[in-house]
Symmetry: C2
Subunit: 301 residues, 2 copies
Amino acid sequence: MPYPMQGLPRQVSIYEVGPRDGLQNESAVVPVEVKAEFIERLADAGHKIIEATSFVHPTWVPQLADADELLARLRRKSGVRYPVLVPNERGLGRALDRGVDEIAIFASATETFAAKNLNRGLESQFDMFEPVVARALESGVRVRAYVSMCFGDPWEGPTPVSQVVQVGERLLGLGCYQLSLGDTIGVGTPGHVTALIEAFRSPERLAVHFHDTYGQALGNTLAALQAGVTTIDASTGGIGGCPYAESATGNLATEDLVWMLRGLGIETGLDLGKLVSTSVWLAELLGRPSPSRVVQALSKG
Amino acid sequence: MPYPMQGLPRQVSIYEVGPRDGLQNESAVVPVEVKAEFIERLADAGHKIIEATSFVHPTWVPQLADADELLARLRRKSGVRYPVLVPNERGLGRALDRGVDEIAIFASATETFAAKNLNRGLESQFDMFEPVVARALESGVRVRAYVSMCFGDPWEGPTPVSQVVQVGERLLGLGCYQLSLGDTIGVGTPGHVTALIEAFRSPERLAVHFHDTYGQALGNTLAALQAGVTTIDASTGGIGGCPYAESATGNLATEDLVWMLRGLGIETGLDLGKLVSTSVWLAELLGRPSPSRVVQALSKG
């Protein structure tokens, strides 16, 4: 029996990042046929947006070196979108060659992470993004923009809200249809989420992308929903990013999110049982238990 | 830098349940001197209310069979309260003999759990509580009441809000100073929390007690704070209750709660570093890693 909560949206889109953000941060390299099956299972569970892979150079992310082969092999389901991450013009070329119709780019909200991750400055990262976005839009390709380190980074501490807004509004100005505000190191708390979202002009163009490093992901999601955000990034089973401990989570687990949304009476179109069995199947292949609480509870009960 | 959130309390009391609710659900039996040190470390970290142990019959909870010895040995810190759980008149007698000045009783919101846990009915459990509360109050002892299974139980499904209110208001009517509304199996979601709290006459006499079985504990806590609750039960390191998996959590972890409250600018008086080192110390003794995300992140960083 659902218990709706005042001020929350009726519908929420879950943007599934497991196959890309999840697998790129797992130490195990997953065979291409397993990746395809993973994505197909997610679509079968009701996902409508699944970020499939990344066209980043294999030197940097060997886990996703098989992006071309994966897209060639993937059986697509009608009505499901399969965006891919594209770091630069070269990556965009590869994506266009494969007929991709939706991409995501990855920006930084902090100077230090822009330098470390993109080899650019906070300002000069736009020299890289502008031609990518322009060419994508010309080719009829939708562009989503991630902004990473929106709440803090390991070198500069808390990220000023105004700095995130400056980067984000500029990306929206280039023509990106949506911004995904990432708490890459998981340090944010609900009031910070509210402050950040309210500082933007259009909450309906925002998504949030939380990591559960400090257990804050789902509480922060609630704050984001209350502030009007209706797209939430999540990763099946919470895979991806275990910088500290064997079973420490990276991304917010899709199953934990679905549990909350279902309780709130918010429609997602997802079949929780299928998600859990997919996570159990994947966890065996990855050789570590899913960090999702829901997966742990429902698979051992 | 804190980011306050509108409508939240400025101060929150954390009611620490680790030594009782945590240890009673751990399979390892902890030596009495370790229990005493655990509680002393919690007081040193700034805790003001620490539920120390339980005067339940040792047959039912062998982990806490040393309640008398523990209280005799415990070095108390000025300004800190050390309530104990008392199941019945016999337990109350033992507590009074030890000079305890604050107890907690444990009621059920569902018929089936009352039968299984208390060997009573939903109605007849009051035959047990009434003399305990009356005698405690006569002796100048404060009484807190837990209500378990407030959101659902494994046999009856979701618990009707009206049923919880009926049990809870009656306990308040007996003279209990506070009700702790427990989500014993962790199934609740934020809208359910709001609905339950709003159905009571006095949110200021309520506390919440969440289990993180489905990852909902901190989001539910945020909803409870928004509904006006200012006392939150939590367990250091998230110890206690692992019904499903080795590292599945029981109680909401104090550290994860403190991380959120600190980010919100809500004063708790707790030293997070001391809490984490206490949890790391205890996890080694219990032989399993702390399920707290914050403990995992800060101890392996």
